[in-house]
């Protein structure tokens, strides 16, 4: 019979509970060291700053669960953002059109990744690094690296829903959409199965081509969202603005418990991963530590969380080898 003690112990072993604990401790430390840290202004700014990252993380999470990886999402976001911006500057339009266009471009670029990975049986990391380089270089080549500043007024105007800033609304929507996909739809279960054991997934009749298109297409689609939100926040479209975010997003998702080996990961874990990274970077800024340390922190976080996951998997394997029957 489980008593309350063992229930609490079991809860402490859960990844997201551990993360929540670390977040609380860090928040406590930073709030004693810096008076502004826990102010409402800082927290809302923090959420808004990291909303673009949260949106992109949704796509990457789904790809990681399926057993692949997508490095190209920031480049996809940049391309979708730029194409959409050109169209709405030239022809006008509204938010619905902007979203449909940007998500549509993102989806198509994601499908290109999916088809290459599926039909060439190539490693997703190699394919998406190549497409990242290609998409981004193409963008710079064609546009000559020119930024777009003359975005329509309706696009750059402040926007909020029930007082919640627009980027946070979009991020929340993307997170909810991902929860729906992963834990309420049959497709979600198939994505986990694909990542956990592709051959078993194939044998029970999963459509592997369809699933590849779904996960990489979804990653591209939400990257399209992210590109729009970024352009709205900074009120301009700079081709290179989003490039370089890949590692931060990857750090957050892996920190949140998604395995690079596929088959595991949750939206709640990803949220905690982003919050942890956000607090860490924001706290360091408020303490006056150079922003050059961000990369240091990100790298260290990936290293530590990958080591912890690998170590846990190693112990799990040892245990199951002893108790095989």
């Amino acid at each position: 019979m489980p008593n309350s003690g063992s229930v609490i112990k079991a809860a402490f072993r859960r990844h997201d509970v551990q993360l929540a604990g670390i977040i609380c401790v860090m928040a406590l430390v930073f709030s004693t060291l810096s008076r502004t840290f826990l102010s409402a202004g800082n927290l809302v700014a923090l959420l808004e700053n990291y909303s673009v990252m949260a949106i992109m993380a949704c796509g990457l999470l789904v790809v990681l669960i399926s057993g692949g990886i997508d490095i190209s999402f920031a480049a996809v976001a940049a391309v979708s953002q730029y194409l959409t911006a050109i169209i709405i500057i030239q022809l006008g339009g509204n938010w619905v059109l902007a979203f449909v266009l940007s998500a549509g471009f993102g989806f198509l670029l994601g499908i290109v990744n999916a088809l290459l990975i599926y039909f060439l049986k190539a490693l997703s990391v190699i394919v998406t690094i190549s497409t990242m380089t290609f998409y981004f270089s193409m963008l710079l080549f064609v546009t000559d690296g020119k930024s777009l500043y003359d975005l329509p007024d309706w696009f750059t105007a402040d926007l909020s829903l029930f007082g919640i800033p627009f980027p946070i609304v979009v991020a929340t929507t993307a997170l909810l959409l991902t929860v729906l996909l992963l834990s309420r739809l049959a497709l979600g279960l198939q994505i986990y199965a694909l990542g956990g054991n592709p051959e078993a997934a194939k044998r029970v009749g999963c459509n592997l081509l369809g699933l590849h298109c779904l996960v990489y297409g979804y990653s591209g689609l939400v990257a399209g969202f992210a590109g729009l939100v970024e352009a709205h926040r900074v009120e301009e479209v700079v081709p290179g603005a989003l490039i370089g975010r890949e590692l931060d997003v990857l750090a957050a998702v892996v920190l949140g418990g998604a395995s690079l080996l596929g088959g595991t990961g949750t939206v709640s874990g990803t949220i905690f991963g982003i919050v942890l990274l956000a607090i860490l970077q924001n706290g360091l800024t408020l303490l006056g530590v150079s922003s050059y340390s961000f990369g240091l922190v990100t790298g260290l976080v990936i290293l530590i969380s990958v080591s912890v996951t690998a170590y846990a998997a190693m112990r799990q394997r040892k245990r199951s080898a002893v108790n095989a029957d």
Binding site: R184, L185, A186, L187, L189, Q190, Y192, A193, G196, N197, E199, A200, A201, K202, R203, V204, G205, C206, N207, S259, G263, T264, Q316, R317, S320, A321, V322, N323, A324, D325
Partner: protein
């Protein structure tokens, strides 16, 4: 070597045993700790049996047979009895006519009637698994016909086979059957997702719970109190029950069982065959593929021997000895 084969696949086990033989030739002595009868019978010269912390003695393997060893290990006497003659004369559930795939098998003729268990035995490489994969749509034949329930079918992908109510429990549950990080429940329902979902593709929770209750707890009696636990925490025998549950949930008419008891201990084996018998009584046609002569002899109504890609003989278990079967297989 302490349980060296616990997490290995079928082929890896064979490779390991070959390595041990080689070491043996070089004069290295091996203590091989295992609960798997086949491996012990293959690799060992002498065997010491431990049960509940007691030493039950050391025996020469050549003086033991598997049944005697199983009795020593478990303390139970295993009654193996042959199946009664199969007398149902209904039309075949599965019928194969002149099936050929170059380089793998040729001119295969077989039929499985509803409720019949047909054993298919042959050496590794005899073409058994290749044939089974063809019957499951994953290895299209070059020529020949496959009939299911009186209708000729074209099986180009395994999705076709599943649609025609053919289920295939593959020879290696670790690498081909289960999604290890997932829960028992998710592993069990992944084959029937299309039936559990509403118009928007949303999973119907009550339907899901019912499916799990029926197949995991009632029909297969998997030893767990919580189906939301990772499947990797189960023992080999119970994992195999989950694989069976997954395929039975699809409500198959033909069940292809490819070496269903590899790596399952002797007590759990009997349990799995009880399930198989119950399925046959319900009218499912079962093709049982196995490496073990004893298994096909005691668990099937009819035995087909496959050698170098052809079926070389059909035997009635009540009129053939183990020795005769061995000769047919290894001739």
């Amino acid at each position: 070597m302490d349980e060296p084969t616990a997490s290995l696949t079928h082929e890896e086990v064979a490779a390991l045993l070959a390595t041990i033989h080689e070491l043996n030739r070089q004069g290295i002595a091996t203590v091989f700790v295992s609960h798997r009868l086949d491996e012990v019978m293959t690799i060992a010269e002498r065997v010491t049996v431990l049960r509940d912390g007691h030493n039950l003695g050391t025996y020469w393997v050549r003086e033991l047979d598997r049944r005697r060893l199983a009795e020593l290990i478990t303390g139970h006497v295993f009654e193996s009895s042959l199946k009664p003659a199969f007398s149902v004369k209904s039309a075949p559930m599965l019928e194969v006519r002149g099936l050929t795939r170059e380089g793998q098998y040729h001119n295969i003729e077989l039929e499985v009637r509803p409720g019949e268990i047909v054993g298919l035995i042959g050496r590794l490489g005899a073409g058994r698994t290749e044939l089974a994969l063809s019957l499951f749509g994953m290895n299209p034949p070059d020529s020949g016909e496959i009939w299911v329930d009186g209708k000729q079918v074209q099986l180009r992908t395994n999705q076709d086979a599943i649609r025609h109510k053919i289920a295939y429990v593959s020879e290696d549950r670790l690498s081909l059957g289960l999604v290890m990080p997932q829960t028992i429940a998710d592993n069990a329902v992944v084959s029937v997702l299309d039936r559990l979902t509403g118009p928007l593709g949303l999973i119907d929770e009550t339907h899901r719970t019912e499916t799990i209750k029926r197949w995991i707890f009632q029909e297969l009696r998997v030893k767990t109190n919580n189906a939301e636990r990772p499947v990797q925490q189960l023992s080999g025998g119970n994992q195999q029950r989950v694989v069976l549950a997954k395929w039975l949930a699809t409500d198959p008419r033909v069940l292809l069982l490819d070496s269903p008891t590899v790596g399952v201990d002797i007590g759990a084996k009997a349990g799995i065959f009880q399930v198989v018998d119950a399925l046959a009584k319900r009218g499912i046609g079962i093709l049982l593929i196995s490496d073990e002569i004893e298994e096909v002899l005691y668990q099937s109504h009819r035995i087909l021997v496959m050698r170098s890609g052809a079926i070389v003989g059909t035997y009635d278990p009540r009129r053939v000895s183990e020795q005769e079967l061995r000769e047919a297989i290894y001739a």
